[in-house]
Amino acid sequence: MQVDEYKIVFDSLEERSWLSIISQECQKEIFEEHVSLTFPVDVSMLQPMHVASLACFVHYLRGKGNNVTIKGDEEEFVNALLYYSHRTTNASCLGLWRIEESWKESKCIQITNFLKSIASLKRKDLSAFQISLEEAYANVFDHAQANENAYSFISFDEKKMKIGVAICDFGVGIPKTIAGTIRVSVLDSIAIVTAMENGFSAKSQKHNRGFGLANIRSACTDSDEFCVISRSGKVVAKGSEESIYKSLFDFPGTLLFYEISLENYDDEELINEFEW
């Protein structure tokens, strides 16, 4: 008996193409119960932003009642990437996890402690990195209204001493949150820039004052990029520069990704008493 199957092919790793496929498929009504995803690309080159956005997309499809399977030569590799669990030891704290409110703070500590266990990072002050994760995860629960569809993927390249972070949610998106705060319609990319301003807050929760995104950005060193994509807006920050783009697709939520060159971080230095 032939089973009707809807096929989605991720045939490019290029960021715009990847996110465009996800965005366009989210706007369609898929009538087939079975959905297959194939990846005729070099999946070893998948970046955190690919995996986090893919996880949200799979979660979305399953939530709509679709039976999603990965097919093709890359089936095993992609399935392994998408597998997540509450693993608690060593390097298994990296990779994909679904962001849960009860877990988010201990997860940040776990990841930081893992990095600190690496000899070359032992003396480094990694507090800025830890804070960037804490702020990013808190934003999901404070603002996104993602209904549990929020994923984080973290990778670490020990040779390059770079940590890669991607956090994706299929929530309301930054532009809608900002529009609700300022009560004026602005371009989606301008809404993202506004959200990144130090001190601008949507005040969704009592503990919000608008320092979150700025704290994430400041964790990146001058050579690192911090990127935010939400709906049709995209902002890339590097050092003090910001590049603003209008996407050709409407991303169904918010995707935030950045890389940190940990070797640029200073060593931890304790002072006995803080003088103003």
Partner: protein, 96 residues
Amino acid sequence: MCTISLHEVLQNKNYPDAGDVLYCLFEKYINDPKIILDFTGVNSLPSLFLNVSIGKFIENYGAETLKQKISFVNITKQQAERIRNYVTQLCEQIRQ
């Protein structure tokens, strides 16, 4: 003079709740000549903690009172810098 262990305040609480507890301790000891905040064992100070503790203190008592009343000990250079920047930015926000 009283000493507050920030590590103990943060234990088994999320950041906003821990921040509330810290602020309550500030109010409890506000009439002490000095409140010492000990950062031993504390790695992270995200804004969702600072906003409801130190941020709320500044709103209600002012930054000058914070600087005179509260000492931060066993703190890293990065944490100190973060607090200094936070106070500056918050004061700027309040002024606006």
